[in-house]
């Protein structure tokens, strides 16, 4: 961290270059002292108003009663009944759509990383970048065209006498949401794990082989232990992304599925009548607590992972 600049050159320092330092007018030196603050203040203020205040607002209202006054009623209501089920479903969904795409994403990333085709590698990198960011309404309707009742894949499977509905798959319920989430979770995992695969040095494998290690033993003692923190980190990222997602689940299920984000949405829309008006904020508070735990774990795992990444 070097402080390369001329914010405050000492007066007796020789001016470097032609006209480097304007003749020290008083206006200018006054500006120089304030400039750092003035340049950063708008951004800090904007972040405080746009991120800080709303978050504090959520925390505040989570502990406010219907008619003012502090209460823990909202929070204790949230850990019971339908709201508890909402958290359970959200966590189940997030686990399902972080573990399966997490493992699958590692295989995809490895298959591409070890491929000799430059074209394939570049295309996957860019496609992952696009697809990982592509949840929401458009994704929902693309899957309606694919797996809806008259969807293309539904009809293809029907032609070979496979009925997804009788197998327990419904696009507009939990199973459908899980499948649709995979569409952005797998690319996200590919993006997250590729740096770790790049860090897996060929010389380690050669060293293991020189000492007579089989492929299995190389992975057992070198590859998997080195990759494990990064894989876990990627999965935590996926967990957070699935846990927080609202648009895809809401547009797919029209809000009938019991997931925490959707329950918050129903409260904001005023679709819920409850003894506790502020329960929506208590659910939001609960989500923040869970995500804070996930991020703490993520930071810890990232520290472990960065040991091998240079």
């Amino acid at each position: 961290m070097e402080n390369h600049d001329a914010t405050a050159p000492t007066p007796d320092a020789p001016a470097s270059g032609v006209g480097a330092v304007a003749p020290g007018s008083r206006r200018r030196s006054w500006w120089r002292r304030l400039a750092p603050g003035a340049a950063v203040a708008p951004f800090l203020l904007y972040s405080a108003l746009g991120i800080g205040i709303p978050t504090l607002g959520v925390l505040y209202y989570a502990f406010r009663g219907n008619h003012g006054g502090w209460t823990t009623g909202n929070v204790s209501a949230v850990v019971h009944g339908i709201y508890l089920i909402g958290f359970e479903n959200s966590i189940k969904l997030a686990l399902l759509t972080s573990i399966i795409p997490g493992i699958f994403g590692v295989f995809v990333a490895y298959a591409i990383h070890t491929s000799r085709s430059q074209w394939l590698r570049r295309m996957t990198a860019t496609a992952s970048g696009v697809l990982a960011n592509f949840g929401g309404v458009n994704l929902t309707f693309m899957f309606v065209a694919t797996l809806g009742s008259t969807g293309v894949l539904t009809l293809w499977l029907a032609a070979v006498h496979i009925n997804l509905t009788s197998l327990g798959f419904h696009l507009f319920t939990f199973s459908g949401v899980a499948v649709v989430y995979m569409y952005f979770q797998v690319p996200l995992m590919v993006l997250a794990i590729t740096p770790a695969l790049v860090g897996l040095r060929p010389s380690w494998r050669e060293a293991a082989e020189n000492m007579g290690a089989s492929s299995w033993r190389y992975w057992r003692h070198v590859g998997v232990p080195v990759l494990m923190p990064s894989v876990l980190g990627g999965m935590l990222l996926l967990f957070g992304s699935a846990f927080a997602a609202y648009a895809t689940a809401q547009s797919l299920t029209t809000g009938i599925i019991a997931l925490s984000p959707i329950q918050i949405g129903n409260f904001i829309n005023g679709n819920v009548f409850s003894n506790y008006q502020n329960i929506g904020y208590a659910i939001a508070f609960g989500m923040l607590v869970i995500l804070a735990a996930v991020m703490t774990l993520y930071n810890y795992v990232q520290k472990r992972a960065s040991r091998w990444l240079h």
């Binding site: 340049a39 496609a127 696009v130 929401g136 309707f141 693309m142 899957f143 694919t146 995979m182």
Partner: protein, 283 residues
């Protein structure tokens, strides 16, 4: 939400109808690894390409089963679509303007003069990824004053927050890639002030990063549903969900696919421009 370091070519996916299986080499040692790679790639390609194919087929196929452009022609005539498109466009422009004015001078200044604050910037700009949009909008609607809630541009102000992570990341990468210190010192030694250094030296040098940040922001605004729907403004994604047409969902699917294809085309163009520019720069 995800780190979008290399936005680009989704279109190549469309062009690629079949799975991109690498050619099998005859080299024995690699053989074992190659068959599972083939399987993984075929499954992946199927999972990602079949929905795209299905979406496009629904967009070009009328309810009667014939292929035509009729569904796409219906789209502008569908009730409320043009209004939604106009609203999304205004929000997108406002978002990009505010985001650029807010983020660019700050990021450049922090890189140049206050490197100690970079960690703080890193931390703040990662918050919108960690805090779910649904929680953020719940808080905003709870605390925002009424006059602000009455205007759709409240959404633009929040979209700037949502765009912060990738705008900052993009500018950060762009600024690291150029020799900021030398450039600004050269400019200063020629008598350039802070503003003219920024506008005439630094901005032209990080133009690719700026453009890709702006395009990503546009794409984000045109696809954002959570905040728009809860703030009760009918932007394009909200319209797609709410529209109740007779065409059995074909119109909504066509609108969704149109949005995707436009996004992909623009991203592809931006990335290829960026690449050719970098190649020229390398000489």
């Amino acid at each position: 939400m995800a780190p979008l370091d290399a936005p680009s070519a989704g279109l190549e996916l469309l062009a690629e109808e079949m799975a991109p299986v690498p050619s099998f080499s005859t080299g024995r040692p690699r053989r074992r690894i190659r068959w599972w790679r083939g399987i993984v790639l075929v499954v992946t390609a199927a999972f990602f390409l079949i929905p795209i194919y299905a979406g496009l087929r629904f967009s070009f196929q009328g309810v009667d089963g014939h292929y035509s452009l009729s569904t796409l022609k219906e789209l502008p005539k569908a009730q409320g679509f043009t209004a939604a498109l106009w609203l999304s466009t205004r929000l997108a422009i406002a978002t990009v303007l505010v985001a650029v004015v807010l983020m660019v001078p700050t990021t450049v200044y922090v890189h140049l003069r206050l490197p100690r604050l970079r960690r703080l910037m890193d931390f703040i700009t990662v918050l919108p990824i960690v805090i779910p949009p649904i929680v953020l909008i719940a808080g905003v609607l709870a605390v925002a004053p009424l006059w602000l809630k009455a205007t759709p541009y409240l959404l633009s102000l929040m979209y700037v927050i949502l765009a912060m992570p990738f705008i900052y990341r993009s500018l950060d990468a762009g600024l690291i890639a150029i020799d900021l210190k030398t450039l600004s010192e050269a400019s200063r030694s020629l008598g350039g002030r802070w503003y003219s250094t920024l506008a005439r030296i630094i901005l032209p040098n990080i133009r690719p990063a700026l453009i890709s940040a702006a395009v990503l922001t546009l794409a984000m605004v045109f696809g954002e549903y959570t905040m728009a729907s809860l703030d009760l403004w009918t932007t394009v994604p909200v319209w797609i969900v709410q529209f109740n047409g007779a065409a059995n969902g074909h119109i909504q699917i066509a609108a969704a696919m149109a949005g995707l294809v436009v996004t992909w085309v623009v991203l592809t163009v931006i990335v290829s421009l960026d690449r050719s520019q970098r190649r020229r720069a390398r000489g």
